[in-house]
Amino acid sequence: MKVKSPLEIYNFLPRTNCKECGYETCMSFASHILDRSAKVTDCKPLVRDAEKDSKAKEKLEKLLELTAPEIAEVVIGVGSSAIKIGGEEVLHRHELTFFNPTAFFYDVWDSLDDKKIDERCDRVVSYKKFYVGKYLTLDGFAVRCTSNDPKRYAEVVKKVAGYGKPMVLIALNPECMKAALDVCAEQRPLIYAATEGNWKEFLKLALDYKVPVVLRAKDLNLLKSLAVTFKSSGVKDIVLDPVTEPLGEGLQGTFERVIQLRRKAILDGDKDVAYPIMVTPIAAWLIEGDDVTKSYWEAVIAGIFIIKYADAMIFHSLDQHVVMPTLTLRFNIYTDPRTPVQVAPGLREINNPTPDDPVMITTNFALTYYTVENDLGSAKIRAWLLVLNTEGICVEASVAGGKFTASKVKELINETKIAEKVKHRYLIIPGLAARLQGSIEDETGWKVLVGPIDSGRIKGWMEKNWPPKK
């Protein structure tokens, strides 16, 4: 955003400290707007005044403009499944954070038979991967027109729209695109793509149907010209595709173009290219080789551009060796580095444990905690789980770094009064903390058992080791 200090925002606020926004002071609210944890429109007095008074309205609009993200935000889809892309502020995540994760669209095409289309769609909508306390899912569909038949394309788009996920419509032929928009424009699909050859027709479609549009050109002068033309004709929701070339110099060129686009927008503040960027890992399927080679390369291309600035992507492979690493990488890169990923320390009761059930300990690093909690849940193990405050550091690093120590374990045992809840004195520690076995026994007087290195193996371990042999 244009403003760099909370004071600049504060001057626009009522300065009454009315707390309606949920913050104690207008100044505090201003600093939350600055780091984007609060929205300008959360200031109710400002919004109310703007409704009554044109001067106040101007002021609000000015503030909204000053605090708008560097990269435009574009919404694809409607309702609860709609996704927002773009809205970024920085080139490196440590400078603030990245905001809207790269949207992942998976292709279906209209020359497939209906049964196969349903199969692919089902795989996309039913996909789930547990990670850090919740399930990761896929965002939507990219419906490709391979038939070049407007009627068939519209039919397939309508069918896919029935799955209720955001869509990218992919057809360079304006007639096909128009037919598809006639059946689904109100679902706000992203249309792909306006090129040097068809831009007039696509500009008309974007205006007529009020849908976001991808502009596609390898030459950045041309891409910018397209963007300027669309914008001055009244199209606000623009996505830029500098063309993903999957191999060799082509891929290095793609890397350069994507970086140049984003740097120009962020460093030089050039609003004519400050739009979300589309990258298409699906282009990997144009290279020579078997399916594994192609799908690996698709994951590689995706990996490069999840890190470097892609806001939306089109994939072909639904195989786990492509989906799982790319989804995980996206989560990692878009995790807010300002807030440590941790859970509250203390005692958790898993599956209603009894006084005879085991006591286990893990760290408060969110990933570790949720993994252990879920593994115990899935394996239907009853347990008392102690969560040690390692300041959000995982087991291995916290043991090495002195954040997982015998004395801290003792404190936790005392604080949670776990000794009053169980009849035994056995504590199971993570396999990666094995070297603390002796010191924890000395410090706490509890008998320490070394559990498996990965909690996914806790079930097998329990069968052998619990209840402990006297």
Binding site: T146, L207, S233, L247, P325, L367
Partner: protein, 451 residues
């Protein structure tokens, strides 16, 4: 009809959109045009129109204004050089050129030029040479150079990248605990570090090998340093690439082990892994200096600790600047990779901006990726998960994406294990480094073709 449109309004509108050329139009009189008509010097319209038509129909507002002019002119009964059929009846307003509810589609693209942003760093990353050939007192066939960057990794459009990242494959002096997908590639050489090293170089294309002297750990075989040093000699005999020597991670024993290894590798310019804040780094550095080696400065995901340790190595141990490589710790994809990535990226950017305590090449223990359960487990232990698919395919890509991510943060040398992951990452580095010619004929074919 009370609707009015003054020429002043029109000119102001055009001016707002930087259509300055219109200012040169000479219009007589202080004009105000009403639809009923008035005494106007009508030649002004012709001049105005010809100018507008030169400007092209590139502005919605210009178009709209033009439409007004058209209407006026038709109402006033003036013929204008329009292509469009101008209706002559006042009662029937222009059929095709009515005041647009939506902006008009311009005839031509508005030309814009893209000028890339200029980014230049004042600092640079030190270049560190690993290995020494006969000319330099060693017996290696070639050397590997790390670092030397003056821009972010693979930003060859900013500055050429003198050295692309190198890959070292891990070799162990005792059977290690490995994921099955990795183990199958080394089963025939486990137990013989020399054969293992050969396989890495000859079969899997490693630039270097890392011999990990894990058996020296007092909690394991407690192999004496002098015996471990023999393994180092064997490996130096077996392969002619530069090598890296790792201890067991036992902070009390490692200095002794690395010292002995440094001695037997004298002149070969190996990298000693690692000096850490809680080992006797002074002793490791002394050995490195005495026998002409490089030291790996290893800290745990903390830029400040990295800076501190580097400072100790530079100021207290007097290590030459060209003999330090850093390992800021690698966490696997899904298991803290975000920390590792950002930590390394911050270190690299600080180095490029001129921080002389952080401008050293970076090393990554990418094999750590195999600790992720997604890389090695047969199936998900979580009930609700979509089935994970064959682990033979999941494992290598986990190592690839972990390495790829960190290469974009600035890693210069990767310690890895799976041969497929090694091959793919090499291809990635060569591609992003601008060393792979060609591409596909039509990168847009996926748009309309079945793939």
């Amino acid at each position: 009809m009370a609707k009015r449109f003054t020429l002043e309004d029109f000119l102001a509108l055009l001016k707002k959109y930087d259509v300055e050329v219109i200012e040169d139009v000479k219009i007589d009189g202080d004009l105000e045009i009403e639809l009923e008509g008035s005494a106007v010097d009508l030649t002004a319209f012709t001049a105005l129109y010809s100018l507008l038509s030169e400007l092209g129909n590139f502005l919605y507002h210009a178009n709209m204004a033009l439409t007004y002019m058209q209407r006026l002119s038709s109402m006033l009964g003036i013929q204008m050089p329009f292509q469009l059929q101008v209706p002559t009846q006042i009662a029937a307003p222009v059929a095709k050129v009515e005041v647009p509810a939506k902006p008009a589609i311009p005839e031509k693209l508005i030309e814009a030029r893209f000028e890339p942003a200029k980014v230049e760093y004042t600092g640079y990353i030190e270049e560190v040479v690993l290995g020494a050939t006969r000319a330099d007192g060693g017996t290696r066939d070639y050397v590997i150079k790390l670092g030397g960057e003056k821009s972010l990794p693979f930003y060859i459009f900013d500055k050429p990248q003198p050295n692309l990242p190198a890959i070292a494959i891990d070799v162990f002096d005792r059977p290690p605990a490995l994921a099955k997908a990795v183990k199958v590639h080394y089963e025939d050489v486990v137990g013989s570090p020399a054969e293992w090293a050969k396989k890495c170089v000859k079969k899997f294309g490693a630039d270097m090998v890392t011999i990990h002297l894990v058996s020296t750990d007092p909690l394991l075989e407690n192999t004496p340093a002098s015996e471990a040093a023999k393994v180092v000699e064997d490996v130096l005999q077996a392969v002619k690439c530069p090598i890296i020597i790792g201890g067991s991670g036992n902070k009390d024993k490692d200095p002794e082990v690395l010292e002995k290894a440094a001695e037997v590798a004298e002149g070969e310019r190996v990298m000693l892994a690692s000096a850490t804040l809680d080992t006797d780094w002074q002793r490791i550095c002394e050995a490195a200096k005495k026998y002409g080696h490089v030291v790996l400065s290893w800290t745990q995901l903390d830029i400040n600790n990295q800076k501190m340790l580097n400072r100790y190595l530079l100021k207290r141990a007097n290590m030459p600047r060209n003999s330090i490589v850093m390992d800021p710790t690698t966490a696997a994809l899904g298991y803290g990779l975000d920390y590792a990535f950002t930590n390394m990226e911050r270190i690299r950017i600080s180095g490029l901006k001129g921080d002389e305590e952080l401008n050293f090449p970076i090393s990554s223990g990418t094999t750590n990726a195999w600790g992720a359960r997604e890389a090695w487990m047969t199936e998900s232990p979580i009930e609700g998960d979509t089935p994970w698919g064959p682990r033979e395919l999941r494992g290598p890509i986990w190592e690839i994406i972990t390495g790829l991510t960190l290469s974009l943060a600035g890693v210069d040398v990767f310690m890895m294990m799976h041969p497929l992951a090694v091959a793919v990452l090499k291809e990635v580095f060569n591609t992003l480094g601008g060393k792979v010619k060609g591409g596909v004929a039509d990168p847009g074919k996926w748009i309309f073709a079945e793939v």
